[in-house]
């Protein structure tokens, strides 16, 4: 295996509180030292990256890979390549596959396909109920043994609160983290954008804020009751963030994330019936967006994820309510997060923590740090290498992004996965 010396970069490792210009040494796929080379170390390759930022490979808590079952949208191979080019070395794929990831066999299928591709680490999330049907528990112990990073029912409703309680209690039995998508199905109903001024004007069915807050409040009560470790996914409202912050302050074992687009877009972006802004949960108000930004800054939201949902073009070519929700988001995860630094929301190490140490903590993973001994999953980006999002050159098979035309200053130049160079912007050199 290649022995690397990554030289002259600004090394930022939020987990260790490191932010300094120094060298990083890699051997046998692991980080072996920071600063000075170990005695007798002779690198096979020196990666000279002055002026660039060297940080742990990014961890994305949610990226739909569409395989198995929806290969007309994307594949593990196509999306893993997009992840590698975006500095993402670990991602969780939700069980929204066909078949659903609700048995060890499907976990194995996804894991084997992902290792064969080898461009990023893929941690499947298992379904909380069989077929995501909300009626019968999955074999969670078996899912955990097969390698599931957690269990979730996504946005598929569990209408029976007793069953939800049992699901949490059962997951707690096996020390599995439950990933909750707070959404009250009766209140969301057929809604497709935020219920507010824009939905009133456009005559679109809105999704009220209470659809999220009622679910968060109910789930928090059940978490307190079952003492399950829970992670709230994709919070979109100021009110939900307040509830989670209060629960964290009270010592409940809860973490939470939002996705990058919620930190930049609002309901107004959908006001021209732009189906590319059709997402679930919906884009909310400016006030909500600002509250999410504050919560990212103060750590109530410890994670920013992509919520990557690649679609074929036809999925977005219909009147907005008939289109499929979601954004192809892997390639904008880092730049949108770094834009928060430009906007003065938080400093660079804190921003990177939301993409590395934060999600690693949720997964209980040793990844997300550059500490010696850890796997050499490394993201290197140039903070001054402007580029423009162009749907024609996205690596993801999904071209469905509302950020086309946006200009970003920072660009990933190299990604290492376990000491292997899996992406180099200017070629392997």
């Amino acid at each position: 295996m290649t022995r690397w010396q990554i030289s002259g970069g600004r090394v930022i490792d939020p987990a260790q509180g490191i932010d300094s210009v120094t060298d990083l040494f890699v051997a046998e796929g692991r980080i072996i030292a920071l600063g000075t080379a170990p005695d007798g170390f002779a690198p096979d390759r020196v990666l000279d990256v002055p002026g660039q930022v060297v940080c742990p490979g990014l961890i994305d808590l949610s990226a739909s890979l569409r395989e198995p079952g929806q290969e007309h949208k994307a594949s593990i191979a196509s999306e893993a390549a997009a992840a590698a080019a975006s500095g993402i070395t670990t991602l969780c794929c939700p069980p929204d596959t066909d078949p659903v990831i609700d048995t060890p066999a499907v976990v194995d299928l996804v894991s084997h396909r992902a290792s064969a591709v080898g461009l990023t680490r893929v941690h499947p999330l298992g379904a909380l109920t069989q077929g995501l049907g909300g009626e019968r528990l999955t074999e969670m112990a078996a899912l955990k043994a097969a390698g599931c990073a957690g269990v979730t029912n996504l946005l598929h409703p569990i209408r029976d609160t007793q069953l939800l309680r049992h699901a949490m209690a059962y997951a707690a039995t096996f020390d599995l983290t439950v990933f909750l998508h707070p959404d009250e199905p009766w209140l969301r109903a057929t809604g497709c954008i935020h219920e507010g001024e824009v939905s009133a004007r456009l005559g679109l069915t809105g999704i009220p804020e209470v659809a999220e807050t009622i679910a968060v409040a109910r789930d928090l009560a059940l978490i307190e009751h079952t003492r399950v470790r829970a992670h709230f996914c994709r919070l979109s409202t100021a009110a939900a963030v307040r509830l989670v912050a209060a629960a964290q302050a009270a010592g409940l074992p809860v973490t939470a994330d939002t996705c990058a687009h919620q930190l930049h877009l609002t309901e107004l972006d959908a006001s021209d019936f732009d189906s590319l802004c059709h997402v679930l949960p919906p884009l909310r108000t400016q006030r909500d967006r600002d509250a999410l930004r504050s919560a990212v800054a103060d750590g109530v939201l410890g994670v920013i994820c992509s919520d990557h949902q690649p679609h074929e073009a036809e999925a977005k070519l219909a009147p907005l309510p008939e289109t499929e929700p979601g954004i192809s988001a892997l390639e904008t995860l880092l730049p949108l997060t770094l834009r928060l630094v430009d906007d003065g929301v938080l400093d660079l190490p804190s921003a990177l923590a939301r993409l590395t140490a934060g999600p690693a903590a949720v997964l209980g993973s040793a990844a997300g740090t550059l500490a010696p001994g850890q796997l050499a999953d490394i993201c290197i980006f140039d903070p001054d290498r402007p580029w423009q999002v162009d749907t024609a050159t996205l690596r993801s098979r999904g071209r469905n992004t509302p950020f086309a035309g946006w200009e970003f200053a920072q660009r990933v130049t190299h990604t290492l996965l376990g000491g292997q160079l899996v992406f180099a912007l200017d070629g392997p050199g």
Partner: protein, 323 residues
């Protein structure tokens, strides 16, 4: 928002999708053009040769009788060829996408689509994806907009009342699901009426409706007080199933327009309804057929307004003037 899509750089109407985004002068132009067409109906040969050789496609993804037939008559009086497609029972039920349906019709050299669809934003979608030579008219999209209905209502109000600025207009009923109400609110505010009021129980009002520039009333007696124009909206049968309203009976008791609760309106107030009427639900027969009712005039004016809009949109595509 839709300005760039429906109005070209010269200010001409390339598509007619929404009243929102149009200027007062553009609404007045539509009404003036309709005025010039309204005498065609009095001729022995009710036709002008303006659109000879043009093909207008009525693309109705949702059932409609009145709107479809008035568009058909309007196109025929302009001498266009008209093709009626009831798509709700054909292509899309066979799994063909809206976009494929459009491409097929374009391949038949259609010049204009008149679109009715159950989803808000459908007409915008069609306009955005139609070939550049094709004009699109929104004949009602979901709960969003029904701009020709709103303009025929404005035309009717102007014929009876003359000026808009001194008027107080009350809209009664299911605002939440009404594309007609949304377009009327935009049109009335653009034309500068003194006040637009909406009257309904909270379950039939979208949150933040005030942002559209209306006063909200829950009491019909207060809402119609001193009003010059009272517009009642159709209450769809599926709204009466007990989820939004307890019963048809209680709705009529509280929000049905009758001679009694009209007493607080101005003496010369007019009563309007976009049709079709549920007698004994939105209003009683005495009011629907009474001297204040202009409901049948609305239907007549629908043809002139649709002739105006069809000719203006077609002119924006052929570079000719409407006159």
């Amino acid at each position: 928002m839709s300005t760039g899509l429906q109005v070209d750089s010269a200010g001409r109407l390339r598509h007619f999708l929404d009243v929102a985004g149009l200027k007062r002068q553009q609404l007045v132009e539509i009404m003036d053009t309709a005025e010039s067409f309204s005498e065609v109906a009095d001729r022995s040969i009710k036709k002008v040769p303006l659109l000879r050789g043009k093909t207008v496609v009525n693309l109705f993804f949702e059932a409609s009788t009145r709107t479809r037939t008035t568009f058909e008559l309007a196109a025929k009086r302009l001498s266009a060829d008209i093709l009626n497609l009831d798509v709700s029972t054909s292509a899309t039920t066979k799994g063909e996408s809206l976009l494929d349906t459009l491409r097929n019709l374009e391949a038949m050299h259609a010049d204009m689509f008149v679109v009715r669809h159950a989803e808000s934003g459908a007409a915008h979608f069609v306009a955005r994806h139609a070939a550049p030579h094709v004009g699109v008219i929104n004949a009602g999209d979901g709960c969003h907009a029904h701009p020709t209905q709103a303009m025929l209502d404005m035309f009717t109000i102007r014929r009876v009342k003359g000026e808009f600025t001194p008027l107080t207009v009350a809209i009664v009923g299911d605002i939440l699901h009404s594309r007609v109400a949304r377009s009327q609110i935009h049109a009335l505010n653009t034309l500068g009426v003194r006040a637009v009021r909406v009257i309904a129980p909270q379950t039939l009002l979208p949150p933040q409706i005030e942002q559209l520039g209306v006063e909200v009333h829950h009491d019909i007696h207060e809402g119609v007080r001193d009003a010059d124009v009272i517009i009642t909206l159709r209450l769809q049968r599926e709204r009466m199933d007990g989820r939004l309203l307890p019963s048809k009976h209680e709705y009529f008791q509280l929000y049905g327009l009758t001679e009694t609760n009209l007493a607080t309106a101005k003496a010369d107030a007019i009563v309007m309804h976009p049709g079709p009427i549920n007698r004994g639900v939105e209003l009683d027969s005495g009011t629907a057929d009474g001297p204040r009712s202009v409901i049948l005039q609305q239907v007549t004016h629908g043809i002139a307004i649709r002739m105006a809009v069809i000719s203006m949109v077609m002119a924006a595509h052929t570079g000719e003037t409407t006159e």
